[in-house]
């Protein structure tokens, strides 16, 4: 086996049918959707069709689907657009979030506080659960927004978004959810309980990179962060990525239609992978097992390896995985996600490894991977022995 690709949570390869949809859009819709001519109209029609299709699939109004350039932009627009909107009314925005969010939420919240806001963290236990009293106490402070992801990007833990939506709605507080890792991996639930703002990214679904959406229930919740030609109802100006939108819609359609079967398949493969690793590495720590988990992520910790080495060592053997979120590779601190779930002390002396599965994953891959990983771990432990004394 030449390559074992277990980094679908970072990027999943473009699906052939998505590629076809994009090629068709490229042929048909080469114009600028703002053009008044035939080509412009064709581009507009293709863009609108993608928007309508995504609205139908998510059971939301197409008018609530705003195309943006990926998950990071979507999360930033939701959080900072909301903070700006509230500030414009003369209120100092309070932003609630959890300690385990993706960096594009965490850093946007940090920027929101630097811009003259406040932030509070909703405590979660390792299973992802939150105490109703803690939640209600924070909501009682009248935050501008509460942002909670649906599926954690490092551990796969499913967070209680529906519970937060119910509690927040009673008080009229808007909720944002980063559902980048949830789409196509778990059922998104009843459309009525969908948060007011939801972020998606296309390339986690086998769609194109630099494409995403923010679902916005009520346009008035947000102030724009970019200014220009008024595209996307002024929330995301700039010439629209028509081809990307067409690919995105095709990817959403595929993953949602396949979800019941594919979710089960990934879960079986993930469990096989987990068992294989536990057998070969007896002191392996598995993160995220305390609560409900999305089927495509397995996050393990290898004690005795304090260095961010495993993904590189595995790459040498043709196995692609990551230490955590791809967006933080190279940083000096241990995963803020793991310390968010398990506390600061946990991450010390444990090398984290995120193995994530997707549509290309085969049972051969999950059978081979534990062999390769166990071999690399044994070698790395030998090499690092002088350091661990």
């Amino acid at each position: 086996m030449d390559e074992i690709y277990l980094d679908h949570a970072a990027a999943t390869p473009l699906r052939p049918r998505v590629r076809q949809a994009m090629a068709r859009a490229e042929e048909r819709a080469g114009g600028n959707p703002s053009g008044v001519h035939r080509r412009g109209r064709e581009a507009r029609r293709t863009l609108d069709a993608a928007r309508t299709r995504i609205g139908e699939l998510l059971e939301v109004s197409p008018r609530s689907v705003f195309f943006v350039r990926g998950g990071t932009e979507s999360n930033n627009l939701a959080i900072l657009g909301r903070a700006d909107r509230v500030r414009r009314d003369g209120t100092r925005p309070l932003l609630l979030t959890t300690a385990v969010e993706h960096s594009s939420v965490r850093e946007a919240v940090a920027q929101g506080t630097e811009d003259g806001g406040e932030a509070e963290v909703l405590p979660l236990d390792p299973s992802g659960r939150t105490e109703p009293s803690a939640l209600n106490g924070l909501l009682a402070r009248g935050p501008a927004l509460i942002s909670i992801q649906q599926v954690n990007h490092e551990t796969g833990t499913v967070l209680p978004v529906a519970q937060v939506v119910r509690a927040a709605r009673e008080r009229g507080i808007p909720v944002h959810s980063d559902m980048v890792q949830a789409m196509g991996r778990i059922a998104l639930g009843d459309p009525d309980s969908l948060p007011d703002l939801v972020s998606f990214s296309a390339h986690k679904l086998g769609g194109p990179r630099s494409m995403g959406a923010l679902i916005v229930r009520d346009r008035d919740l947000l102030a724009p962060r970019l200014f220009g030609g008024g595209q996307e109802d002024g929330l995301r100006p700039g010439t629209e990525d028509v081809v990307g939108a067409a690919g995105f819609a095709a990817a959403v359609e595929m993953v949602l239609s396949e979800l019941p079967e594919e979710g089960g398949r990934l879960e079986r493969l993930r469990n096989e992978l987990e068992e294989g690793l536990r057998e070969r590495i007896p002191d392996l720590i598995v993160h995220g097992v305390e609560g409900p988990r999305a089927p495509h992520i397995l996050n393990v910790g290898v004690p005795g390896l304090s260095l961010d080495l495993l993904p590189r060592a595995l790459d040498m053997e043709g196995l692609a995985a990551s230490a955590g979120s791809a967006c933080r590779s190279g940083s000096t601190t241990m995963s803020p996600v793991l310390s968010g779930f398990y506390g600061e002390a946990h991450a010390v002396g444990v090398a984290p490894l995120r193995l994530s599965l997707g549509w290309t994953t085969t049972s051969d891959e999950v059978r081979w991977a534990p062999e390769v990983i166990a071999r690399v771990v044994a070698r790395a432990r030998r090499a690092l022995e002088p350091d661990t004394s």
């Binding site: 961010d308 060592a313 940083s331 690399v376 690092l384 002088p386 350091d387």
Partner: protein, 368 residues
């Protein structure tokens, strides 16, 4: 195709770039590795991730050109502990540290090498101008580089002896001009990069800026004190002994009848002792933190020592070692034997090991 997997420490400079290219040409499986040793930029705490280091970018660019994998290893914690903290502490003790030697023995051939082994590498290579090969009894040894202008064996006395068989130094037999030619022929972006001379973690070029940042407030090394002559008479004032190094002439103020040099630093009294050039001469020196690549040489052995980069080797005789302190008797007096600096010990071109200079032994020691 060789079955050897070799980790090349790539700094982003021309030497390590050509090192990787040469080993690849020899048919080895080459892996490029760049150490991220410290954060150059002061960035807001919440967005403190990887820095946009030019060196890392250049190394990656070269690796892509050579079609070899390239990884960045974050050794900031270890580098800070073993190199930067030591640098600051040594100046605090009135000594003059040698951070590049510490980085080689602890970080590059320690932390980076361990990571390389974890990746399954059986060798490590750097762009040092030194040669590795069999010694007189066939055992793996290190020798001075053929290009005497560039020779860097001095910086490697601290390597662990068990590493010797794993080391590759493909530039040891080349001149700098030849290396640059190779880089140009390979169209490497680093071909005409200027030499790095500064201490990498002192971007301002003035190490006192770093000391001010990292030493405790009101550390005696940064407080004013007296400049005294060899008889202990005050002849001036200084603004912190950390700004001085033995042998230095500049910064002592004027008004002396003959040129004055720093002869000694006495941290306990915050004194900088100055004297005429002759007072800098030593006939012997005491060295500690010893490291030997082939076992400690017997007392009475004739060796050559090098007490600063680019200094000519000085003939010396190995004396006794007591409590980890070795005495070396010099055949001819040497100037400015500087505490904290390295003393590399050679047998001809062959590196035997070395240590850190504890103090000079002088025929006429400065009076207390």
């Amino acid at each position: 195709m060789s079955d050897k997997r070799i980790l090349v420490a790539m700094s982003g400079g021309v030497d390590s770039s050509v090192t990787a290219a040469l080993l690849k040409e020899e048919g080895h499986q080459v892996i490029g590795a760049t150490m991220k040793t410290f954060c150059y930029q002061e960035t807001p705490a919440h967005s403190r991730t990887c820095c946009g280091l030019d060196g890392i970018m250049d190394a990656r660019n070269v690796a892509e050109r050579l079609d070899i994998p390239h990884y960045v290893f974050d050794v900031e914690e270890e580098f800070t502990r073993d190199v930067i903290d030591d640098f600051v502490e040594e100046y605090g003790r009135g000594r003059t540290p040698n951070p590049c030697v510490r980085c080689n023995s602890r970080t590059k051939f320690g932390d980076l090498l361990r990571r390389g082994r974890a990746l399954g590498c059986d060798g490590i290579a750097t762009g040092h101008y030194v040669r590795s090969g069999p010694g007189p009894r066939g055992n793996a040894s290190l020798f001075r580089g053929l290009d005497r202008e560039k020779d860097q064996a001095y910086f490697l006395w601290g390597l662990a002896p068990e590493l010797l068989p794993m080391l590759h130094f493909p530039l040891g037999g080349l001149t700098k001009d030849q290396v640059r030619e190779r880089a140009r022929a390979l169209e490497l972006v680093t071909a005409d990069k200027p030499e790095s001379q500064e201490i990498c973690f002192v971007p301002t070029g003035d190490y006192r800026d770093l000391l001010k940042k990292r030493m405790k407030p009101r550390h005696p090394a940064l407080e004013p004190g007296q400049i005294v002559d060899l008889h202990g008479t005050q002849v001036g004032e200084h603004d912190g002994y950390a700004g001085f190094t033995v042998g230095q002439r500049k910064g002592l103020g004027g008004g002396f009848s003959e040129p004055q040099y720093v002869i000694e630093i006495r941290p306990d009294r915050r004194e900088v002792v100055v004297g005429p050039r002759e007072a800098l001469e030593s006939t012997a020196l005491a060295v500690n933190d010893l490291n030997w690549l082939h076992g400690s040489p017997n007392p009475g052995t004739g060796v050559q020592i090098q007490i600063r980069h680019r200094a000519a080797p000085a003939p010396a005789v190995v004396g006794t070692t007591e409590d980890g302190v070795l005495t070396l008797e010099l055949a001819r007096p040497e100037r400015a034997v500087t505490p904290g600096q390295s003393c590399a010990v050679f047998d001809g071109d062959r590196l035997l090991g070395g240590g850190r200079i504890l103090h000079a032994l002088r025929p006429h020691p400065a009076s207390p």
